[in-house]
């Protein structure tokens, strides 16, 4: 029966479920198809919905690979038993240890850095230092933040819990809330717009949003600051977009090959450049625009903590009245 069932799935085809938008992921699929002749069928949806879809489909899922953003979502996929471990020396070589699942069920493919953006006309960069320092009274009425519903902020806070423990993190988040110039804003782009318009002086965003905005409006008085560079065992908070092979993949070998290709130097440029993210593969230089933002030290903690501590982070932000 099993062998009969297998034959119904076309060879030379991979099926991908992806929470990355089509415009960010399709160029990769096209490039791979062109190079290898393997065609890629894909379906986009929100992360939570894709996980439930995979779970409901069980052993009969057509999906071979899950591509999504945020380590928390990938961690959740492993918890639901939706992925399988992959033994691949290529992947271990190409993806640094802190950007992949300790049990090799998923691998980071691009790095997204969440950092501080400030108004050049109003803030001297040497006044800035760490994420924690955004709660310093000197920033009272000068801070803008995206809402706590953003998974990016949730994982930032999760990583802070790992570093400082809950009580201290809660204090820090409360001090942020006390400094807010305006109620939390629904997206990164608007938070930067508020800084540029003078509603506040600093905010925290993912760098590719900064890149996107500056491309359209190069004259905005905004600049990047890399926090937590002098702190031991810390650094800029990074998250990933990443992928894993589904537990019931029908084209497992092909999917692993594709995953390895995505981490290769050839694909990494393309992968990171489409959205101005950073490559995970250290042998690959970032895109020129991105490189111009300067080098920085990443937080070396394994991003899997963002998943494990996300629930704690969300609850903590509720307690701190960070909306």
């Amino acid at each position: 029966m099993l062998t009969v069932a297998m034959t119904t799935y076309a060879a030379n085809e991979i099926v991908v479920y992806t929470a990355r938008n089509e415009q960010l992921i399709k160029p990769l699929f096209d490039a791979y198809t062109k190079e290898t002749g393997t065609s890629i069928k894909f379906l986009t949806d929100k992360e939570g919905a894709l996980l439930q879809k995979l779970k409901a489909e069980g052993a009969n899922t057509p999906a071979d690979m899950l591509i999504t953003v945020d380590a928390g979502n990938l961690w959740q996929a492993t918890k639901l038993g939706l992925l399988q471990p992959v033994q691949s020396k290529t992947l271990l070589d190409n993806v640094p240890a802190h950007l992949r699942d300790p049990a090799n069920q998923w691998f980071g493919l691009s790095v997204r850095a969440r950092t501080i953006i400030y108004n050049k006309d109003k803030v001297k960069p040497d006044a800035l230092s760490t994420y924690e320092d955004l709660g310093n009274p000197k920033w009272k009425g000068r801070l803008c933040l995206r809402t706590s519903k953003s998974v990016y902020n949730q994982s930032l806070v999760a990583m802070m819990i790992q570093e400082y423990g809950e009580p201290k993190t809660e204090q820090i988040i409360k001090s942020w809330v006390a400094n807010l110039a305006t109620p939390p804003i629904s997206d990164d782009a608007r938070a930067m717009a508020a800084v540029a318009a003078g509603q506040c002086d600093i905010t925290v965003v993912n760098t590719y949003y900064f890149g996107g905005l500056m491309k359209k409006k190069p004259n905005l008085p905004l600049a990047i600051f890399w926090p937590n560079q002098d702190t031991k065992d810390s650094g800029v908070h990074v998250n990933i977009s990443g992928a894993g092979i589904t537990r019931h993949a029908k084209h497992q070998a092909e999917a692993v090959k594709f995953l390895e290709w995505l981490s290769s130097e050839k694909a990494q440029n393309l992968f990171a450049d489409v959205n101005m993210e950073f490559p995970v593969n250290l042998k690959v230089k970032p895109d020129a625009t991105v490189a111009a933002w300067g080098e920085f030290k990443q937080n070396p903690l394994n991003v899997v903590k963002a998943g494990e501590l996300q629930t704690a982070a969300v609850k903590l932000m509720d307690r701190a009245k960070y909306k």
């Binding site: 099926v15 508020a194 509720d318």
Partner: protein
């Protein structure tokens, strides 16, 4: 229970059974079947109540629910009042009065329906927030000044009212148009002024229509996530999404959603109970009515009012969308848009037909068999609309995938058959939008009184020909309204489309999702504009029919 000698007991009991429970008629069976089908996803969601998630509940109750419930209460109250006032007044003006621009306004006022509410929300914030052009210009001219914040309770209520009033407008207008002038004329002959006549006669007579429209708007409000997320205004739905996406518990999310459905069901049934004693009669078929001619200041006030609503609800948002779209049209508009367009239209049209037919059946059986059973059935069958779309999508998908897996396990098929098929997609739309189709048809059903049937029968018309020649013409306005509303709603729908579409069946709404989820609002504007254009089709059909 007392033991009876078998020989004597059996026959009378069976006899009583047959006497009491006659075989249900085809109508009742059909209605029950529909309800069972649409109830499956709801039951999947409700089943979560069996295993409570204590830890998450404790947290939500302590830190979130009081604020969420307060916010939800004010939102429902505000939007309810807002859509009633806008919808009824505009419907009355365009149906019964005559003033400059009335003819154009009568269809144009439907247009806000074609723009997804969260798009209007984003435009409103884009224009009116601190960083928007309005405040920026004001600062340039007059220096730093304080504006009331658009990101506030009032802001959300205003935006949702503007996006949702067309439900009330369309359904109430239908009522005013078909109400016949007689009742009003009688009122006037008794010396009541038009204004008093409106409040004492026309408004009470149009009540089921108005309430039906309001219920749709409020169910949509309760289920909304996108609009409140843009405003960061936390409602009950926010908690549902938070439990699922942030606290990783679909279980807790479903439990919250269950409470929402139970609440809506209670409200719906209570509302319906107050209606059962009312009777509606047909007071003459749409006589070509002499409208009330507004003159002078009154006429210009009416024109101005319609224009302001239209500007806020449609002209300004669409202008902003067009500006954004024009920036990206060269790079983004390609041949794939033909597919998006075609997929959207096909799905919307099929779903409109299906929902219209099923709603008609449901509402017809309730008429044939008046009573609590079928009233309840209709309510339960249409409750899917109150569920947040993403939760409903999961509720639909879980049983479908389960069936598929059973089929594969049984060896009937080699790979999943149902999931990713258009049939399941349409079924999911039916579950979500049956309420939208049902409300206008059911209100119109009140027009077919017993005396209509009796009169027809006395002329020798009965059975199928009674339905075709007498009932359907009376219901036509309601049917068209139903189809148009479902059509536009399916065009805009995202979570169900995303989760149940076959590979490659991307629609305009999917495209909007792709762009907005990446924060690219100007690129999302292009599919949004296309969506509005496609949504114009049913509006044109409605207008054509009405102007006959």
């Amino acid at each position: 229970m007392q033991q009876l000698p078998i020989s004597t007991a059996k026959a009378p009991i069976v006899g009583a059974f047959i006497f009491k429970f006659r075989l249900p008629s085809g109508w009742v069976l059909a209605a029950l079947l529909i309800a069972m089908l649409t109830l499956v996803p709801v039951v999947v969601v409700l089943s979560s109540l069996l295993t409570p998630e204590r830890e998450i509940w404790t947290h939500l109750v302590e830190y979130q629910l009081p604020q969420l419930l307060t916010n939800t209460f004010w939102l429902v109250l505000g939007v309810g009042l807002g859509v009633a006032i806008l919808g009824v007044s505009l419907a009355w003006l365009t149906a019964v009065c005559e003033f400059p621009g009335r003819k154009q306004f009568s269809w144009a006022l439907l247009l806000p329906l074609a723009i997804p509410a969260y798009v209007t929300a984003f435009v409103a914030i884009g224009l009116l927030d601190f960083t928007g052009p309005v405040q920026t210009l004001a600062r340039e001219w007059w220096g730093p000044i304080e504006f009331p914040s658009i990101r506030s309770r009032g802001g959300v209520i205003a935006v949702m009212t503007l996006a949702l009033y067309p439900y009330v407008y369309l359904i109430a207008r239908n009522a005013f148009l078909t109400q016949g002038k007689h009742a009003l004329e009688v009122a006037q002959s008794l010396g009541l002024s038009p204004a008093v006549g409106f409040f004492r006669v026309a408004l009470p007579m149009a009540r089921p229509w108005i309430v039906g429209g309001m219920m749709l708007a409020l169910m949509e409000t309760l289920a909304d996530f996108g609009t409140v997320a843009v405003f960061n205004y936390d409602t009950f739905t926010t908690a549902i999404y938070k439990a699922w996406f942030s606290l990783f518990s679909l279980q807790a999310a479903s439990q919250l959603a269950s409470l929402l459905i139970v609440f809506v069901l209670v409200v719906l049934l209570a509302e319906q109970q107050t209606r059962t004693r009312m009777h509606y009669t047909q007071t003459g078929k749409h006589s070509v009515q002499a409208r009330i001619f507004l003159t002078g200041a009154q006429a210009w006030l009416a024109t101005g009012f319609c224009l302001v609503v239209l500007a806020l609800g449609f002209i300004i948002p669409i202008t902003q969308l067009l500006l954004w779209a024009s920036e990206v049209v060269e790079q983004d508009l390609d041949v794939r848009y033909l597919d998006f367009f075609w997929h959207s239209l096909a799905l919307a049209a099929l779903a409109a037909l299906l929902s219209g037919a099923v709603a008609l059946l449901l509402s017809y059986s309730a008429r044939q068999h008046p009573g609590l059973l079928l009233r309840m059935t209709a309510r339960i069958a249409t409750i899917g609309y109150a569920l947040p779309g993403a939760v409903l999508a999961v509720g639909v998908f879980i049983p479908v995938a389960w069936l598929d897996n059973r089929f594969v396990a049984a060896g009937w098929v080699q790979s999943p058959l149902l999931q990713g098929s258009l049939m399941v997609m349409l079924l999911a739309y039916l579950v979500r939008f049956l309420a939208v189709a049902h409300s206008p048809i059911e209100s119109q059903m009140h027009r077919i009184t017993r005396s209509v049937d009796e009169a027809a029968r006395s002329l020798g018309v009965s059975g199928v020909s009674l339905i075709a020649r007498v009932h359907l013409p009376i219901l036509r306005g309601g049917l068209l309204t139903a189809a148009a509303l479902v059509f536009v709603d399916v065009m805009k729908e995202m979570p169900i489309t995303l989760m149940t579409r076959p590979f490659g069946w991307d629609t305009l709404a999917v495209r909007v999702f792709e762009m907005t989820s990446g924060g690219e609002w100007n690129r999302a504007a292009l599919p949004a504009v296309a969506l509005v254009l496609a949504g114009l089709a049913p509006v044109v059909v409605l207008t054509k029919y009405r102007s006959k």
